[in-house]
């Protein structure tokens, strides 16, 4: 009888082993019985175990049971996967992050595991836009697994990783290019970022496998992504120059692309940079205002006036109407940039116009210019300077009258318009039309002329007062003198009497 039992048992064992070996996949028999067993199973029971073979966590000796619970020391499924003995199965969505946090937010543990990774990812995620409750209220909008995956987790530098630089655009696009999905959270947010990105120089390089170029995370950050409206966001308007400069001011990185690295240092001293970064004027342009963001491309030579014209619309409009437009295009001159520069753009001054060596006009219209350009440039500068000089003179005249206590408030009021005339004139320089220029400036001279007359009258009136006083003083002197004589006379009479 005993023999029969042994034989049957042996038979079972042989069949069992046979069955195990009949699968074609290689089987690595390790210490982790969960893994050992699951590798013998099929489909959804097999895949996690199979993927886990290359997971970075496996190399750190983290077992299935470390996340899923259960007893890894037995093949008895009833015992190994007994919920009463701590088996968790597939963690619930709201709980699955906890498995990651257990180690990744624990500095000591991470050290013990020989990892130098930071431990603040979860904290950052909590404050990020993705750390908000999902619409079905089961966990966060995006948690660790949403991006890093499960069972096949690799470090971001590993091409196998789901968050490897070239894979990121598609990864983010999973949600952000899905209109239906995005509707649940922010229906106003566009969904074309990835599409645009693919057309940008960054995107083109990225798709070629270049991991130096910027992808979503380079600008938006990873765990601590915030909306662009959040001042703490890396892509908040005033933070953008710095974000771009991380790469674009890095000579090492840029040498590969033959790009200059001085844009940032120029920008911070430019009129736009000062407005944005020093004066905190949020309507001032940042890098992306001209270069675009997701579809970042430098503006083409002929589109510059449109780019600048979004804010400086009147100037842009005028330039487009001016004879300069066609001439610049022909010469492939970059419109606005030709005179004003680009990243290091400085506040305009009247020194830019005219025929002096520091002017921008003489770049084309030097003395050898056969057209009237040189002459007009000279005349424009002369007229502006002369109005400015008139303004100064009249203001000083009025100030003089004012200091004398005369009322010149009306003239002062009229003089305010000079500022406006000058601003309008400077704007209309973009038309490059001397006739319009003169017509715009002319009212200024009329104002100064009138005000000068008023100022002069006031000063004349002041002198009239002195004259009046002089007359009064003469009268008083005569009166006093005659009174004095009268007194003398009376006293003489009194003396004679006494």
């Amino acid at each position: 009888m005993k023999k029969i039992i042994y034989i049957v048992a042996l038979l079972f064992l042989v069949i069992g082993i046979n069955q195990v070996f009949s699968k074609k996949k290689p089987i690595i028999v390790g210490d982790d019985l969960c893994e050992n067993c699951h590798l013998t199973l099929e489909d959804k029971n097999l895949l996690p175990a199979q993927a886990y073979a290359t997971d970075i966590h496996k190399s750190k000796n983290i077992t299935c049971a470390d996340c899923h619970g259960g007893d890894a020391t037995t093949y008895d499924m009833d015992v190994a996967m007994d919920r009463n003995r701590g088996f968790l199965g597939v963690p619930k969505p709201q709980d699955r992050m906890k498995m990651c946090i257990k180690c990744h937010s624990d500095e000591k543990r991470m050290k013990r595991l020989g990892s130098a990774l930071p431990t603040d990812q979860f904290k950052k995620l909590q404050n990020s836009v993705h750390g908000q409750p999902s619409s079905n209220n089961r966990g966060y909008i995006a948690d660790c697994i949403s991006c890093h995956g499960v069972h096949n987790i690799a470090s971001p530098g590993n091409p196998a990783s789901t968050v490897y630089a070239t894979k990121i655009p598609a990864l983010c696009g999973n949600c952000h290019s899905n209109a239906n999905y995005m509707k649940m959270y922010n229906h106003k947010l566009p969904i074309d970022q990835v599409e645009k990105y693919k057309t940008s120089l960054h995107g083109i390089q990225n798709s070629k496998g270049d991991i130096t170029v910027a992808q979503c995370a380079s600008c938006h950050g990873h765990h601590d992504i915030r909306t662009a409206k959040d001042p703490k966001s890396s892509v908040y308007v005033s933070n953008i120059p710095e974000v771009c400069s991380k790469c674009h001011s890095d000579a090492k990185k840029m040498s590969k692309y033959n790009l200059p690295t001085d844009q940032y240092s120029k920008f911070v001293t430019s009129v736009h940079g000062v407005a944005l970064l020093k004066k905190h004027d949020m309507s001032a342009p940042s890098c992306n205002s001209c270069h675009g963001n997701h579809g970042a491309v430098p503006p083409g030579v002929e589109s510059i006036s449109n780019v600048c014209g979004t804010c400086h619309n009147l100037n842009g409009e005028m330039f487009s109407k001016s004879p300069h437009k066609a001439a610049f295009d022909k010469e492939h001159l970059p419109e606005c940039e030709t005179c004003h520069g680009n990243h290091g753009i400085m506040p305009t001054t009247d020194n830019m116009i005219g025929t002096g060596s520091e002017t921008t006009c003489i770049k084309c219209h030097d003395e050898s210019d056969k057209g009237k350009g040189n002459e007009y440039a000279y005349e424009m500068r002369r007229l502006i300077d002369s109005l400015k000089a008139d303004e100064k003179n009249v203001l000083s005249l009025l100030g003089q009258a004012n200091a004398l206590g005369m009322d010149v408030a009306d003239a002062m009021f009229a003089m305010k318009d000079i500022r406006q005339v000058l601003i309008q004139t400077r704007t209309c320089i973009h038309l490059a039309n001397f006739r319009v220029f003169k017509e715009t400036l002319q009212p200024g001279f009329e104002i100064t002329k009138k005000a000068a007359i008023e100022g002069k009258n006031a000063i004349d009136d002041y002198h009239f007062r002195r004259t009046g006083l002089g007359f009064a003083t003469i009268i008083v002197t005569i009166l006093a003198l005659s009174l004095y004589l009268k007194i003398k006379k009376i006293e003489k009479v009194q003396k004679e009497k006494s």
Binding site: G405, M406, D407, A409, R465, R466, L469, A472, T473, V476, L479, A480, L483, Y484, K486, I487, I490, E491, Q494
Partner: protein, 363 residues
């Protein structure tokens, strides 16, 4: 010509019949003014009176355009200065005359002090005169704020703040003066009221008394004349001699006023703004400067008494003693020369002059 003369006679007869003017004239003629080396000082009272009259006339004129509210005060003074015909002149004369009036009153007071004119029987003239000086200060202090400019605003703030230091009732008085806890539009209305109604009413009463006393008692004679014989004394009839001289002087003073107003027009400065930081060089009118400056020199705490309180106490007591002069100057009262008083007077004058200068120089 003859008809005109007879008409003049008939009119004066008509008036005389009813008001006995001739009585008054003959009374004035009998009145005489002692003639000696200090006679000039006797004109100072008259000049001060003239400047007061100028104040009344120019003040009434300014009232036609001035608006005593927070929003309009500054603008209306600006309007007077720039838009109203001769407004600049009237305002400048009002300001200049105010300052000269206080100066005149000071000089008048010290001349009375050194000539001992306050002694019996003229004690009440001294008392009313002193009160008139205080009222003049009140005019100055309240009028200073009316243009509602920056300097005046902060000077008033500091000035009324000093009142607060008086123990027990100080805070109450300050609120009463300011019309609230702060210097606001309410203070302006209040000061306006004081300046054009309350003070003039009180001033008129004391001025009438002051002048009446002088008319009643005649003009004080120098102390050493008591020992002089009749022939050594020399007099001048009040009418017409002294009066005409007075008028001559008035003419000159009025012209000086006009010259000052034209050549040194009174500045208006910037409109007061309660939220603006205090400007540099806040200072009171010059006649408060010596007190203001003294308060600066007194340390914050003297023994256990608050420094500012000490200063107020000091000036309060000093002012009161000065006021009571005819009462405690026993020697002069009985006709003995009191040299000590001359020294006191000189010390007081030196004190005022030195501290005033310090106040302006050390700014």
């Amino acid at each position: 010509m003859i008809e005109l003369t007879s008409l003049k006679k008939r009119i004066s007869a008509w008036i005389d019949e009813r008001y006995e003017i001739s009585n008054l004239i003959s009374y004035m003629k009998k009145k005489s003014v002692p003639k000696f080396r200090a006679t000039f000082w006797y004109y100072l009272g008259g000049i001060t009176l003239l400047l007061f009259i100028v104040q009344v006339v120019s003040g009434i004129l300014l009232l036609m355009y001035y608006k005593g509210t927070e929003n309009l005060a500054f603008e209306s003074v600006q309007f007077i200065n720039t838009k109203v015909y001769f407004g600049w002149l009237i305002r400048s004369i009002h300001s200049w005359s105010a300052n000269l009036m206080i100066l005149g009153a000071f000089l008048h007071m010290f001349s009375v002090f050194f000539l001992r004119s306050y002694r019996k029987p003229r004690e009440l003239t001294w008392y009313t005169g002193f009160i008139l000086l205080l009222l003049g200060f009140g005019f100055g202090f309240s009028g200073y704020l009316l243009p509602w400019n920056e300097l005046a605003y902060f000077a008033t703030k500091v000035g009324t703040d000093i009142v607060k230091q008086v123990p027990f009732v100080g805070h109450y008085f300050m609120v009463l003066l300011r019309g609230g806890e702060e210097v606001t539009g309410a203070t302006l209305s209040r000061f306006y009221g004081f300046h054009v109604a309350v003070l003039p009413a009180i001033f008129t009463v004391f001025l009438t008394a002051h002048l009446m006393f002088i008319q009643r008692q005649g003009i004080h004679e120098p102390e050493d004349w008591k020992n002089k014989s009749e022939s050594e004394r020399s007099y001048m009839p009040f009418f017409p001699n002294f009066l005409l001289r007075d008028l001559l002087l008035w003419l000159i003073v009025i012209n000086i006023l006009a010259i000052l107003a034209v050549f040194f027009p009174w500045e208006l400065g910037q409109k007061a703004n309660a939220f603006a930081p205090a400007p540099k060089g806040i200072r009171p009118e010059w006649y408060f400067m010596f007190m203001f400056q003294t308060l600066k020199y007194i340390p914050g705490k003297v023994w256990f008494i608050d420094g500012e309180l000490l200063g107020i106490g000091f000036f309060g007591i000093a002012g009161f003693l000065w006021f009571m002069l005819p009462f405690w100057d026993k020697r002069t009262k009985i006709g003995i020369r009191n040299k000590l008083l001359n020294y006191i007077g000189i010390i007081v004058i030196m004190f005022i002059i030195v501290l005033t200068i310090l106040g302006y120089v050390l700014e």
